[in-house]
Symmetry: C2
Subunit: 277 residues, 2 copies
Amino acid sequence: MIKKQLIMEKALELFAKQGFEATSVQQITDHCGISKGAFYLSFKSKDELILSLIDYFMTQFISDIDYQVRNVNNEGLLFKYYHTTFQSFVQHSDFAKILMNEQAQTFNNKELIEKLHIYDRLLDKVTLTMVERLYGDEIIHTKYDLVYCIKGLMNNYSKLILFYNNSLDLKLLSESLVEKTNLLAKHATIAFISEDIIHAIEQPNLEVITKEQLLEMITQKKNEMEESIEKESLILLEQQLLEPTLSPAIVKGLIENIRNHPHCKWISYLLRNYFDL
Amino acid sequence: MIKKQLIMEKALELFAKQGFEATSVQQITDHCGISKGAFYLSFKSKDELILSLIDYFMTQFISDIDYQVRNVNNEGLLFKYYHTTFQSFVQHSDFAKILMNEQAQTFNNKELIEKLHIYDRLLDKVTLTMVERLYGDEIIHTKYDLVYCIKGLMNNYSKLILFYNNSLDLKLLSESLVEKTNLLAKHATIAFISEDIIHAIEQPNLEVITKEQLLEMITQKKNEMEESIEKESLILLEQQLLEPTLSPAIVKGLIENIRNHPHCKWISYLLRNYFDL
DNA sequence: TATACTAATGACTAATCGGTCAATTGTCAA
DNA sequence: TTGACAATTGACCGATTAGTCATTAGTATA
């Protein structure tokens, strides 16, 4: 398990520098100081590695943003949304670079492309929730279009952050985008992206996660964790899933406990959704 | 020369479908119905091929946009700018796909990355010119930021056009973006991209083209062209370069004559810049 | 027809890749 | 110390690649 972490870290560096295809397994193992065979003890294939990386970072990223959108009051939410996103990009800039460079069809792995697509839509969903909360009915006809604009602006400025990350002023950038978003939300009338187009794009629905899947994930995570408040909280949440006895306030507190554990961010996100908190 | 065209066309299709790296020279030659050896009679390497494709399309693309910006009056210019761009994208969607997918570091060819960067900046320059003409002094502090927003929005919507190009309404899309651009131009006050940042990014200056380079290009193009009005115009423009005798109006007319010839678009763009028309 | 030339071919090379597996090393209970 | 088992190694395999070049096919001239 430690070995797996090592490989992921070192591979991330190389992928960010050279791209996924251009980095060989040999290079990765050299960089780790292990043999090629050892690599295949931790990962079934090179594809499984990049897949793990995507999962590892995207789940954390979406969980963080979703938490902000759910728990910051409207005043300042938009700023927090942008600022959190850009901070995450800077913090995990190696991963962000991979995501930028390998945007679309570069991978010849269908599973991976679908995965990226799903995370992309989850992010859209979070943004949509925020936009609805912030502007309510006044943007009912333009909300999908607004989400798309936010995404476009953010993508573009993110590129700047990654390639010239000599300490850009993320606060100013976020403020600038807050102003722009408000302008577009309050005055734009001609929407290009309608609900129809969104539905046409989203073809297969996002699968709803079942209780059983949640329980299975929790069981797995428990084994990976050392004894701690987080693990204890997770066990209590597991019991709550099997037999609801605790009050919403307690459940919310338990989820809060595990929120910042890197391995639990995704579960905390899923639980928030499941318990509708 | 015909062979070169054939290879470029067929390769374009394959690159759009599978990506550059994933397409082998063998596949290209099979698709053309020629041998692998024949490929290397037309191109020194696979890299030279993609390089030629980038040049061929980007020069046309930038020339077209630049022409619109220079020759359409302010009323309706913004719409024309967006509409022309999106139409070009649809018309050359195979090339646009390559450009989208292979965005950045995918190519391990420095020359190519630099080339893309240069075209990118040329496009920014055209957009900046337009923005300055449209809004004048009122956006003097926000113009670079505005250009960057326009780019971000356009990039994002372009993706949509390419991947779901089932006859989207380009007119509506353009109108929608016109409205948004006007909103941002007239009401946004907090600019993130300042002139300083632009200068920091643009490191090496865009080289100014010399008269000698222009003459050389014209000589080369003349040999590739059959007898026509376009060729005759080109010869007259060549003489004008060597010894200015014609009035600006005539020069402008001559440039107009060659504007729509696929092989002359770039030269017409360069000449417009050179004669400052 | 014979000659000289160019255009085109495709078998070949050398390199690199992801992935495998027999052999080796390390570990720990008896 | 021994022996059984797990962890680790790296030489090796088959597949694929860009690029080469001796050979052949096609064509124009004398």
